[in-house]
C-alpha cells in the first residue's frame, strides 16, 4: 500500500506534538518520496542529529517503506525566526 501524505501527516501528529507541519509528496503520488518540515517543542535542546534520530525512530515503520524521506526539524522559536526573515 502506498503511503499518502495524509497518512504520513496523521502518523507524525500521533507520534509527537507539532506546532506546524508541512508535508510535500515529491513522488507524483506513488508515495515514495516525501519531504517534511516539522515544528515541535520536542526538539528543544536537541541538536539536528538528535532531532532526526528521534523522528526516524518515531516514524520507523513509515520511513522503511518510503524510498526518500527528507526532513527539516525546527523548534517553535526557530520557526518564528525563520518566518520573520
Amino acid at each position: 500500500m502506498p503511503i499518502s501524505a495524509v497518512s504520513l501527516e496523521n502518523a507524525i501528529k500521533n507520534a509527537l506534538p507539532v506546532v506546524h507541519l508541512e508535508i510535500q509528496d515529491e513522488s507524483d503520488g506513488c508515495g515514495d518520496k516525501f519531504s517534511v518540515v516539522i515544528v515541535s517543542e520536542i526538539f528543544e535542546g536537541k541538536n539536528t542529529l538528535q532531532r532526526h534520530r528521534l523522528v526516524n525512530e518515531l516514524l520507523k515503520d513509515y520511513i522503511a517503506r518510503i524510498h526518500a524521506f527528507s526532513q527539516k526539524t525546527l523548534t517553535p522559536q526557530q520557526y518564528r525566526e525563520q518566518l520573520a526573515k
Binding site: 507520534a15 506534538p17 528521534l54
Partner: protein, 153 residues
C-alpha cells in the same frame, strides 16, 4: 539525553524513551559481531568516510550526489575521503543502517563519528558548521591558512 523526551512524553503520553531504547537494543542484536567490526574498520579508514549510492564520480542517487557536491565545494581532498558504494554490497547497505541506527543512505562519518545524512550535511553546510567541523578535524585547511590564489590556469 533522554530527559527532554521524557519531559514532553509525560505531558503528552506519547511513545516514550523506553520504546526508543528497546528498538536500539534490537537493532544492535541484529548485526553480527563480525559485521560490526568490519564496519568499524570501514568508518575509521579515512578522516572522512561516506557511504553512498554509486561513486563520487558517478552518484546513483540525488541525495548521495548532493553530499558529494557539498564535500567537493569545501575542497575535501581525495586522500582524506573514503567512499563506499552500498549498491555494490547489499550486506554493507543493510549493515550500515543498523550500525549507525540511521535508516537512509548517504551517511557521513568524520573521524569515526556519525555526522548525519543528506539533510543534516546540507543544513550544516548552510549554517557554516560543516566548514568548522572539516577544519577542526584537519580535513581541510583553516580558512586563514588557505592560499588566496585559487584560480586555475
Amino acid at each position: 539525553m533522554f530527559r527532554p523526551i521524557l519531559n514532553s512524553s509525560l505531558r503528552i503520553a506519547r511513545p516514550t524513551a523506553s520504546t526508543v531504547v528497546k528498538a536500539r537494543l534490537r537493532a544492535y542484536r541484529y548485526l553480527s559481531q563480525e559485521a560490526r567490526s568490519t564496519i568499524q574498520k570501514a568508518i575509521e579508514a579515512k578522516p572522512l568516510v561516506l557511504f553512498m549510492k554509486g561513486t563520487p564520480d558517478a552518484p546513483q542517487c540525488g541525495f548521495s550526489r548532493a553530499v558529494v557536491q557539498v564535500l567537493d565545494l569545501h575542497g575535501v581532498p581525495p586522500e582524506k575521503l573514503q567512499s563506499y558504494n552500498v549498491l555494490e554490497d547489499p550486506e554493507l547497505r543493510n549493515g550500515i543502517k543498523e550500525f549507525s541506527e540511521w535508516p537512509t543512505i548517504p551517511q557521513v562519518y568524520v573521524n569515526g563519528e556519525f555526522i548525519g545524512g543528506c539533510d543534516i550535511l546540507i543544513g550544516m553546510h548552510q549554517s557554516g558548521e560543516l566548514e568548522t567541523l572539516l577544519e577542526n578535524s584537519n580535513i581541510i585547511p583553516k580558512a586563514a591558512e588557505e592560499p588566496a590564489q585559487t584560480t586555475s590556469s
